[in-house]
């Protein structure tokens, strides 16, 4: 299916409700389907986190919110069950990382923007694209279903380290819960692979006339590299998962060696849990960039548009995306410094990991320089983009400490790590996602979201997000391990430590609750505007890229007539000599004018 085959679309053939809204093959509709699903999953994940934050701040106290959501089974007398605590943490992490920030973010924006910004009628394969969404949907349902299992959901942490994740006798969640988790993730990965292949092919083959790779918006570069990372790394997780399934059901010993579980001496011998850690993090580290890069891509576009300035160092930005993409494959061992891996290897990973800080720094400085002497309009999207740059900095710098293996010894698996990755990945990606939704909402729904509500949403979210994750650094340096039901271990040993952890945990949980509630503003704004929002104009933000040349009302095939030809890069904002402060990509270069 090439772009040409599509040109006759858009005029005739009425679609039924089912082919238009449910089994749609149109990339714009599929993007929206991903978004709505991801929003739903995010709401669930936020609620789960508030439930376990209640336990952390007020351990062992009866709480009616807990009994409301978890009932007598998992919160007898309103006190969270220990096993369920770990289940909540596990499913919260899994949903956020994979379903919201991978499936949701790439699924929504790669789908929506790739054809629109490269100038294609649709994705290379609409059918695969549709299948990709429905697999995502199925895997989401399965993951949610696992919360209702009698023995509880998977509870070995989102990193599912064996042998804990293999034996039901080791933790109840490793029974049916883990089986469903593995099934769900396998389907999820299939979905992600289909999507990624589609994105790659579309970017490579379906660009409109004049759209050279060096004229692509940075969004597309980011989605493109993200898709490549996904295609290269997710299959490794599949193999890790298959080997684990074999260990679980066939009694093989890939990850098991000389263990006794619940008093039963097992014969499995010769495997190693460390093998799993390698396989997991070979995906796991690229995964964090799979989450982050699309968010960076979205903000690059938004920052340039709203600062009315070209993004600074376009080529360096592309270069750093590529460098980050490449390096992210050779740093996975920084999650395993104290796993029992050879210390020499640890040293190598220190080196490669710290290298990645260089392209990251380049990106940060380029964003900041883009703002310098800009003419900044504070749309909600722009606010969230600034939030992203801030959280990327704040989380990135702590990465430097963690990457130093000697220091990692002191803080590995403490709340310092939790703070690091939530700020650098969680916040950045969520901010990027919000920015994207506010910015491209007119493209998705033909309506405008309410800007004032968006601003209130931003400030509340920014303050509560830092309120949650900033103190966490200190809790972590203070020796609070992650995945602890409570910190009573310190009682009778170091009461000062115990009190400090407890005090800060209360602060953190209160901010978490405020931050969670603040999202109601967004939800309201989103759904209200979908139906009742102000009707959008074609190019509300005065942007240069191609999506703003399509009509507000969606047409199948995106452009009613010819696909426009591209003559310049997308960042000609406030170019000297031009009348307007923006020049769309479709405007031919003037006599003697230079392409960037």
């Amino acid at each position: 299916m090439s772009a040409a085959a599509h040109t006759d679309h858009g005029h005739h053939h009425k679609e039924s409700f089912i082919t238009k809204y449910i089994f749609s093959q149109d990339h714009k509709m599929i993007g929206k389907q991903f978004l709505i699903t991801a929003i739903f999953m995010a709401v669930v994940a936020v609620i789960l986190s508030i439930l376990f934050r209640i336990q952390l701040a007020w351990p062992g106290e009866s709480n009616s919110v807990l009994s409301f959501f978890l009932g007598d089974t998992w919160a007898p007398d309103g006190v969270l069950d220990r096993g369920m605590y770990l289940g909540l943490v596990t499913i919260h992490g899994t949903i956020m990382v994979f379903f919201v920030l991978t499936g949701g973010l790439s699924g929504t924006f790669s789908n929506l923007l790739i054809p629109l910004q490269v100038g294609a009628r649709d994705m290379a394969s609409g059918l695969l694209n549709m299948i990709s969404y429905w697999l995502f949907f199925l895997s989401s349902i399965l993951m949610l279903y696992s919360l209702f299992l009698e023995t509880g959901p998977a509870s070995a942490g989102w990193t599912i380290y064996p042998p804990l994740s293999i034996y039901e006798e080791a933790i109840p969640g490793s029974g049916a819960g883990m089986t469903v988790w593995l099934l769900s993730m396998t389907i999820f990965i299939a979905s992600s692979l289909l999507g990624s292949l589609n994105y790659i092919v579309t970017v490579l083959n379906l660009r409109t006339k004049g759209m050279k790779m060096t004229r692509l918006p940075l969004t597309i570069w980011a989605f493109f590299v993200t898709a490549i990372l996904g295609v290269l790394s997710f299959p490794v997780l599949v193999s890790a998962v298959v080997l684990m399934l074999m260990d679980r059901t066939l009694g093989t010993s890939f990850y098991v060696n000389d263990t006794i579980i619940a008093g039963e001496v097992l014969e499995q011998s010769g495997g190693s849990p460390i093998l799993f850690e390698h396989l997991f993090w070979f995906l796991g580290h690229p995964e964090v960039y799979i989450v982050l890069l699309p968010a960076l891509g979205l903000t690059s576009e938004i920052v340039a548009t709203n600062a009315r300035k070209p993004i600074f160092g376009y080529r360096a930005m592309i270069g750093s995306i590529l460098a980050i993409g490449f390096l992210s494959f050779i740093v996975w061992g920084h999650h395993m410094f104290i796993s029992g891996m050879n210390p020499f290897l640890g040293g190598v990973f220190v080196f490669t990991t710290l290298l990645i800080a260089i392209p990251s720094a380049v990106k940060v400085f380029n964003y900041i320089t883009t703002l310098w002497k800009g003419n900044i309009k504070y749309t909600p999207a722009m606010l969230f983009s600034i939030g992203l740059v801030s959280s990327f900095i704040t989380g990135g710098v702590t990465g430097i400490i963690l990457a130093d293996s000697a220091l990692d010894i002191a803080v590995h698996d403490t709340y310092f790590v939790v703070a690091h990755f939530h700020v650098v990945m969680g916040l950045s990606a969520i901010f990027g996602m919000f920015a994207g939704v506010y910015h491209w909402f007119p493209k998705m729904y033909g309506k405008m979201m309410n800007a004032k509500l968006g601003m209130v949403h931003f400030w509340l979210t920014l303050v509560s997000a830092y309120g949650v994750f900033f103190p966490m650094h200190f809790v972590g340096i203070g020796g609070a391990p992650r995945r602890y039901y409570d910190y009573s271990v310190y009682e009778g040993f170091d009461s000062q430590q115990f009190e400090m952890i407890m005090d800060l945990n209360v602060v953190i949980s209160i901010f978490a609750i405020i931050g969670g509630l603040a999202q109601i503003i967004f939800l309201f704004n989103f759904f209200y505007s979908t139906f009742k929002g102000q009707k959008a104009v074609q190019n509300p933000w005065k942007g240069n890229s191609l999506e703003w040349t399509t009509p507000v009302e969606h047409v199948h095939g995106n452009w009613p007539g010819e696909i426009p030809e591209v003559h310049r890069w997308p960042y000609d904002y406030s170019k000297p000599g031009a009348d307007d402060d923006y020049i769309p990509q479709t405007v031919p270069l003037k006599e003697g004018e230079e392409d960037h």
């Binding site: 096993g83 509870s155 380290y161 042998p163 804990l164 080791a170 060696n257 263990t259 579980i261 001496v265 014969e267 011998s269 190693s272 849990p273 600074f312 376009y314 360096a316 104290i338 796993s339 029992g340 210390p343 640890g346 040293g347 220190v350 080196f351 400085f365 964003y367 900041i368 320089t369 310098w372 003419n375 309009k377 504070y378 600034i386 801030s390 704040t394 702590t398 400490i401 000697a406 010894i409 002191a410 405008m448 601003m455 400030w459 303050v463 203070g478 271990v489 040993f493 000062q496 400090m500 800060l504 309201f524 009742k532 929002g533 509300p540 960042y571 406030s574 000297p576 402060d581 960037h596």
Partner: protein
């Protein structure tokens, strides 16, 4: 229930109310012809000022927390390597904080300063090779320093222990720790997970337990005895079923049969051990002693050998800034030299009088993960000797409990099936003596390292 209903009604009403307010707002902006994308200057300026306000708040709260919780309030590091880590942490911390303040500062100040004004046009500045060069090279140089300092410390931490390091095993299982001191010879006796278990001699009523799976002549005999009993009990049930005296489901029967076979295979390997270890079988275990509390001597280097029985655990000493994972079927290690005694710690100003060092588990290991701990005391050598002779430390392997004289030691004559024949025996003599020389390593399974 009534309460929930009321809450629900209130929520629904609130949503309706907000929707109505929005409606009015939207209508009025429609009348005024205001478009959502046109942020008016006043609102834009408010957002810009909020950038500055936020920056002040952000940095203010950061400095406040730094002042109050600076090093996480953990007392000063109480080990030699901990001090080094602490120093390195501070160096990095300063660099990191400088970068954090500089970049966040620039970001929010620019965001505040360059907010929109209709009379201004943004400065056309698409790239500048020199600038970009600077902010590639400068971070690279700083990182080079960080890497070099870091790797120097890392090598020191992971390097060989000194010759007079005392070897102690930390044995992890759900959900507790056991410490095994290597005793006067400073060598740990061999251990093998297949020997872990209890056994009873019904005729004399004596019983024997081997929680760490130490390998000695006696423990092998006891384990065979235990396995014989287990197999016999299962066989009996299977027999009963065959005579229609019990009604097991087929699934249960299969399970029992499989278990008998498995236990027989394990028994075979246990029977091999005596020969496998040869003369050295009893060599190092006799002076080992185990405790559920750790007592360390100040300024003495310890070489901890970590083992796990079931799932991953992690030995985490927050006050020593030391941590290492415990991996089932593998031995990992950790060096610690305590520098401050518990008493000295307690006498410091800002430390509570009931302070104690602690060993925790820091790798999710099950439902009671957060309860898995061991008390650690640091004292003088004299205190250690006193403690060692006290009630807390017990012999690791009680070989005074002699195994029953008549244990069925007959080897099974079933053919060793090819697919599990490769589990250990053949490789066994690849020099466990060497390992014993090294001090830490005990033996039993060649895959273990």
């Amino acid at each position: 229930m009534g309460m929930k209903f009321v809450v629900l009604v209130v929520v629904v009403l609130a949503v309706i109310a907000i929707a109505q307010i929005m409606r009015v707002y939207e209508l009025s902006s429609k009348i005024r012809g205001k478009r959502e994308e046109d942020i008016d200057l006043r609102v834009n300026n408010i957002n810009a000022s909020l950038m500055l306000v936020f920056l002040l708040l952000f940095f203010g709260s950061f400095f406040y927390m730094l002042a109050v919780y600076g090093n996480g309030m953990l007392p000063e590091p109480a080990s030699v390597l901990g001090e080094k880590i602490h120093w390195l942490f501070n160096v990095n911390w300063i660099i990191v904080i400088a970068v954090f303040l500089l970049t966040n500062g620039l970001l929010f100040v620019f965001a505040w300063k360059y907010s929109y004004h209709p009379d201004r046009k943004a400065h056309w500045f698409p790239h500048d090779n020199k600038l970009e060069m600077i902010w590639t090279v400068v971070p690279a140089a700083v990182l080079a320093v960080i890497i070099i300092l870091g790797l120097m410390t890392w090598n020191e931490i992971t390097g060989e222990p000194s010759d007079d390091a005392v070897v102690v095993e930390l044995y992890a299982k759900q959900f507790d720790w056991t410490a095994r001191y290597s005793g006067d010879d400073n060598k740990l006796g061999f251990s093998d997970y297949k020997l872990i278990g209890n056994a009873e001699d019904k005729s004399s009523g004596t019983s024997y337990s081997n929680p760490l799976g130490l390998v000695t002549d006696n423990s092998v005999l006891w384990r065979v005895q235990g396995l014989n009993d287990e197999i016999a009990a299962l066989d009996e049930n299977i027999e009963l079923e065959a005579n229609n005296l019990k009604a097991y489901s087929q699934a249960n029967l299969n399970k029992m049969n499989a278990k008998v076979e498995k236990l027989r295979r394990i028994r075979e390997r246990v029977l091999d051990m005596t020969e496998m270890y040869g003369d050295s079988i009893n060599a190092f275990a006799e002076d080992d002693f185990v405790t559920k509390e750790l007592f360390l001597i100040k300024d003495q280097e310890y070489f901890f050998v970590l083992r796990s029985q079931d799932v991953l655990h992690s030995a985490y000493f927050p006050h020593f800034r030391a941590q290492m994972n415990c991996v089932p079927g593998q031995r990992t290690s950790l060096k610690v030299t305590p520098t401050i005694t518990t008493q000295e710690m307690r006498s410091k100003d800002n430390i509570p009088d009931d302070f104690n060092f602690i060993l925790m588990c820091n790798k999710i290991c099950g439902v009671s993960h957060s309860n898995m701990k061991m008390a650690v005391t640091v004292g003088t050598e004299e205190e250690f000797i006193e403690w060692k002779n006290g009630p807390l430390a017990t012999v690791a392997i009680n070989d005074s409990i002699v195994a029953p004289a008549e244990i069925d030691m007959e080897r099974m004559d079933w053919p060793e099936p090819a697919h599990h024949g490769d589990h250990g025996e053949e490789h066994e003599d690849e020099g466990h003596n060497d390992h014993a020389e090294e001090g830490g390593e005990s033996h039993g399974d060649p895959h273990g390292h």
